[in-house]
């Protein structure tokens, strides 16, 4: 190999962005086509530095917009390379058109979204409105709750995406600043272990196979478009979940770190539970333990895989819980929150008597404090004791002014 390896310590102090950049280096990504945006810039900047320091062999393509960044990734992936990039918020919004191209073309690109609020008002801090904006774009979506997971899930993402039965692009989400700029102790794999886990890239229908010329990105109208979308959905629903479980298991064997489509904490005997994503999962875990000392059997479910949404798993986990809160970190725009809807949909035609309430929180980087979660669990317990919802179905946490409640 024409590049140098890095000797990593057993524990490194990395923030989420650097952790993701290290994973891109170890996966030996061939092409990063990127445009900088806060708070994701350090990921692609990190890859560029590794490249200039001869620590990875690849191409770094600086383009004029996020639309061009993903277009470059699509071209490189169709040509037959291992490809990744990163973006956030407004950048993701500009990239949105091409995300649908990538998934429809079944190209295994890995996109790091460092979750940030969408303007207006302009805001660089964390919420999940960018993640939610592209949740129906046909990409597999993972969510990291801390820097270690941002590293692990990037390696896992390539292995899932590039499987020839899958061939779908993967988003790895992490919370802007809260994860991306928070340095923590990380246990990385060695360069060799990481690369061997991801494996050598196996091309499929690549444009650089001159003996088998192919046309990518064809046009279909009413005669064929529906069949392509149906095939993609069928593969996403039927093949992807099993493949994710398989890769999670393989990663656990290698690293000792266990991942699940739903991360359940203290759920076995729980009466009340909070379902959330990102760094909030860790805060909720801590509060749940404290609630148990007060006699409230509290649990937490963290959504590790947002797409394909683990409907059956969540129905199984929540069916005997008395009261559940769905926490959505995105302005719902005239509807219930997305997690509220997914959970309601998963449980609706079952015998579960679960009481479900939805909460909008943390927009534009507003803190979700332990006090908020103590109040939330207390409210859930009151619902459970009463056997009915004592509040409206949608409330807001941590917003100033008169209390907001809907539905």
């Amino acid at each position: 190999m024409a590049f140098d390896k890095l000797e990593l310590n057993e524990t490194e102090v990395w923030d989420g962005n650097h952790a993701a950049a290290q994973a891109l280096r170890q996966a030996q990504v061939d092409v990063v086509s990127a445009y900088p945006i806060t708070p994701s810039t350090a990921i692609v900047e990190g890859y560029a530095k590794f490249k200039s320091d001869n620590l990875v062999e690849g191409e770094f393509v600086m383009v004029e917009s996020e639309h061009a960044a993903m277009s470059g990734c699509i071209g490189a992936a169709a040509a037959g390379g291992r490809v990744a990039t990163a973006t956030a918020s407004q950048g993701l919004a500009l990239m949105a058109e091409t995300l649908y191209q990538a998934s429809g073309m079944r190209l295994p690109i890995v996109l790091n979204i460092v979750n940030r609020a969408l303007a207006a008002p302009l805001n660089v801090n964390c919420d999940h409105s960018d993640m939610y904006m592209v949740r129906d774009s046909g990409w597999i979506q993972f969510d990291a709750f801390n820097p270690q997971e941002a590293y692990d899930l990037n390696l896992i993402a390539f292995k899932v995406a590039e499987d020839h039965d899958v061939r779908l692009p993967v988003v790895v989400n992490q919370d802007g600043f809260l994860t991306s700029h928070t340095a923590q102790g990380i246990h990385p794999l060695s360069d060799d272990d990481a690369y061997n886990f991801v494996g050598e890239y196996k091309p499929m229908n690549d444009m650089l196979d001159f003996e088998n010329p192919v046309t990518h990105g064809v046009q279909t109208e009413e005669d064929w478009h529906f069949e392509h979308k149906a095939r993609q959905h069928s593969d996403t629903m039927n093949i992807v979940p099993g493949k994710i479980d398989e890769v999670f298991a393989e990663f656990e064997k290698l690293s000792g770190r266990k991942y699940s489509q739903l991360e359940c904490y203290n759920m076995d005997d729980a009466d009340v539970a909070v379902v959330c994503m990102g760094t909030s999962v860790e805060t909720a875990r801590e509060v749940a333990l404290e609630m148990r000392e007060k006699g409230i059997k509290a649990g937490v479910v963290g959504i590790r895989v947002l797409r394909p949404f683990p409907f059956a798993n969540i129905a199984e986990v929540l069916k005997d819980i008395k009261a559940v809160a769905a926490l959505d970190r995105s302005a719902p725009g005239g509807a219930a929150g997305a997690l509220f809807n997914e959970i309601a949909g998963a449980l609706f035609n079952t015998d579960s008597k679960m009481l479900l309430s939805g909460y909008i929180y943390g927009l534009g980087g507003r803190d979700l404090t332990k006090k908020h979660l103590v109040d939330l669990y207390t409210e859930l317990q009151a619902n459970a004791d009463a056997g009915k919802l004592l509040t409206q179905q949608q409330q807001f946490i941590g917003v100033r002014g008169p209390k907001l409640a809907f539905l």
Binding site: N212, H216, Q232
Partner: protein
């Protein structure tokens, strides 16, 4: 093209140009290549055309301008001699006529209904250059 079900095609918005591998594409003439039904080579777009070019070999000097400029690779040339126009793919843009340097031109546009014999019979004569 067959109307297959959602589970009966290769994934991706991707189509193959040839049935099987092709080893020497540059050395294989179009008519000898194993194009699939999905290739534009097997699809006729003749009905896009309002006017058609007619080739008159009597005046052609084989300069290959038309072959070079045709945006649809529809001028058929063999051993650097133009032998005709691929009427399945020509869209009648008239660029070949525009770039033809002979006097009179060796390619002229005629209505789609004009037959080739009468087009050639009525071909214009050499124009005198203005002094």
């Amino acid at each position: 093209m067959e109307n297959n079900g959602w589970n009966e095609f290769e994934i991706g918005a991707m189509l193959r140009t040839f049935d099987g591998a092709i080893e020497d594409i540059a050395g294989t003439r179009q008519e000898d290549r194993n194009y699939t039904q999905n290739s534009s080579f097997t699809a006729s777009v003749a009905d896009w055309r309002l006017e058609k070019p007619v080739f008159n070999k009597d005046y052609c000097i084989d300069c290959q301008f038309c072959w070079v400029y045709c945006p649809d690779i529809s001028i058929i040339s063999r051993d650097k001699k133009v032998i005709g126009v691929d009427m399945d793919h020509c869209k009648g843009c008239g660029i070949c006529v525009e770039v033809c340097p002979t006097n009179p031109k060796s390619l002229l546009m005629f209505s789609e209904q004009t037959d080739e014999e009468s087009a050639i019979a009525g071909w214009p004569t050499k124009e005198d250059k203005e002094k």
